[in-house]
């Protein structure tokens, strides 16, 4: 169908992100291997986007399951990568309560690149910068959880 052709994927407006939706992100073991407690998410997972990146890359649950996020990683194995889930409703709550300058922006990848594959779910969390990063990292860690069944395996 023409609609399923990636070139026809539209950028969806913010109101299409329902509070019940999730944003998934893969986390390499380097970031959790030395945690004291794997069930307690630490803020070190989050950082200011690299140069050339507009925001923190995630996958929107409207178009992706945690397994899709895992499969897109170079090593799709829970011994190497875990998948965290950020609930959209909780994200909105911390934005409001703490006056965080964050926004969710749908950013479907229509043409694959060396780093990113074609991905309709691709969504950015934008607004974190060098000035506000400590507060935002702390707040994102508070609402992040491992996606059900995608907590990494510590070995």
């Amino acid at each position: 169908m023409a609609k399923d052709d990636p070139v026809n994927w539209e950028i969806e407006p913010i109101e299409n992100f329902l509070n019940a939706h999730f944003l998934y992100r893969g986390i390499h073991r380097i970031f959790w291997i030395n945690w004291r407690d794997l069930t307690k998410i630490e803020p070190n997972l989050f950082a200011v986007p690299k140069p050339g990146e507009e925001g923190l890359s995630t996958d929107w649950s409207k178009y992706a399951a945690p397994q899709d996020t895992l499969d897109r990683l170079r090593i799709p194995d829970l011994k190497t990568n875990g998948i965290i889930a950020l609930n959209v409703g909780q994200l909105r709550t911390i934005i409001t309560i703490n006056k965080l300058p964050l926004n969710i922006m749908h950013d479907p990848i229509r043409i694959s690149t060396e780093i990113l594959q074609v991905n309709r779910a691709h969504t950015l969390i934008i607004g974190m910068n060098k000035q506000n990063k400590a507060k935002i990292k702390r707040n994102l860690a508070k609402i992040a959880n491992w996606a059900d069944g995608y907590k990494p395996i510590h070995h």
């Binding site: 291997i33 004291r36 070190n44 989050f46 780093i115 060098k130 000035q131 507060k135 990292k137 702390r138």
Partner: protein, 192 residues
């Protein structure tokens, strides 16, 4: 009131012990168990003396904490420090020894100053962040404090802290590396 060893510190040591157990590193386990037992013995005898702690006991307990600090910090550097740029083939930044040493220098100065002044602060986590920086993170029942030490020495350190349930003590600062130590020490003293 003098508090020599808090529940927070004991808990963090036990968690670390469990983690090391999983890694089957028996040398580390024995070392930690010895430290824990020593701390508990001191804690018990300090409690019996109803806060009247001799100077020598106090300095010996502080020395134990400092030894534990060194042991804990070594563990945090394992598998991380020395990773070069693009270690994940995805363009991630590496973790150089200079950034690590600056991070530990700062943390050591903060903790040793507070411990020497009988202020009871647990050892935080020290973890790598995707941009090549390190995070020092405390989460206790009383306060939360995050320091981010960037790999670029010219870039300021970012910190954010809250005293739980007391919004008036919220702190959000970007500061030159040289000034962070005193900012953190003063804030931690203030919220006690």
């Amino acid at each position: 009131m003098i508090k020599m060893v808090s529940e927070e510190i004991a808990k963090s040591l036990l968690k670390r012990l469990e983690q090391i157990s999983e890694e089957e590193n028996y040398k580390d386990i024995n070392e930690l168990i010895k430290n824990l037992l020593r701390l508990y013995d001191k804690f018990k005898s300090d409690k019996k003396s109803k806060g009247q702690i001799s100077k020598s006991k106090r300095s010996s307990a502080i020395q134990d904490l400092k030894n534990i600090f060194k042991h804990e910090i070594e563990n945090y550097s394992k598998n991380i420090v020395g990773l070069s740029d693009n270690w994940d083939s995805q363009g991630s930044k590496g973790y150089n020894i200079d950034t690590w040493e600056r991070t530990i220098y700062l943390l050591k100065n903060i903790l040793f100053n507070l411990w020497d002044n009988m202020i009871d602060i647990p050892i935080p986590t020290v973890l790598p962040s995707p941009d090549g920086s390190f995070d020092i993170n405390w989460e206790t029942g009383i306060f939360e404090l995050l320091l981010n030490i960037p790999s670029d020495i010219q870039e300021p350190v970012s910190l954010y802290g809250e005293k739980i349930g007391h919004k008036e003590y919220e702190i959000e600062v970007r500061s030159k590396f040289e000034l962070v130590e005193s900012v953190v020490i003063e804030w931690l003293k203030m919220i006690q």
